[in-house]
């Protein structure tokens, strides 16, 4: 198994991006569940769950956005390192 230094930067970049994308996908599934549960509870007349759900959903969106910035950065880093060579 090659060490981390032997793996080409492009492959390493793709692995990092795949990891970030998996995390985003998991957060998205939780967000979809949260939205459907909140809607169900709202339609049932229980309105107290709306504010914590909105806060958690906002947090998850911020994490997703942070991961997107990470992906964008990895992408441009790999591109620049390929351009330097």
């Amino acid at each position: 198994m090659p060490g981390n230094s032997e793996v080409p930067p492009k492959t390493r970049g793709l692995t990092a991006i795949a990891g970030a994308m998996s995390l985003i996908a998991v957060l998205l599934i939780v967000q979809i569940w949260l939205l459907s549960a909140t809607l169900e509870s709202f339609l049932a007349g229980k309105r107290s769950s709306a504010s914590p759900a909105a806060i958690f959903s906002g947090l998850m969106f911020l994490i997703c956005f942070g991961l997107y910035l990470f992906v964008d950065r990895v992408d441009s880093d790999v591109r620049n390192s390929a351009g330097d060579r």
Binding site: L28, Q31, L35, S51, A53, D75, R79
Partner: protein
Amino acid sequence: MNWLRRSSSEPLWKEEFPVRTADERYVTRRQLTKFLVLTSFGMFVGNLWILFRSLFYKPPTHPQQTVARLGDLPVGGVKLFTYPTSDDHCILVRTAENEHVAFSQKCTHLSCAVYFSRESNRLECPCHNGFFSIADGSVLQGPPSRPLPRIILEKRGNELVAVGIKVS
């Protein structure tokens, strides 16, 4: 805010349409990530919308409407009516000599019309076999997760009058 800015010297169109296959993989992954994050934003907006509706919720006022005369229905009898608007179909059931109950006829799963089953003494939805209690409209079985909205009835002389809707 340097970390937000793309530091590449290449123009954007060159980044989006690369010549090498290896670079193409990056573009597709970046675009998918962007799409996922936009979807996440959509979910957040949906939650904000529910929060907005909850904060500015005003309980609706319902009209009073005579739905039946006390002697009209036999025990176990059913009458269909609309309340509060002509698009809201409801079902009235005489469950005992001096007891009437009324519920919205719209199943809380996918809005099929529920009917009263005398044999099982419950309200049933024929679409996906959702069963509701005749006593309080709660879910007994099936895919619906919410009880049926109950029509509040008042006896006024010889008449049954619908005065409101209880969603619980």
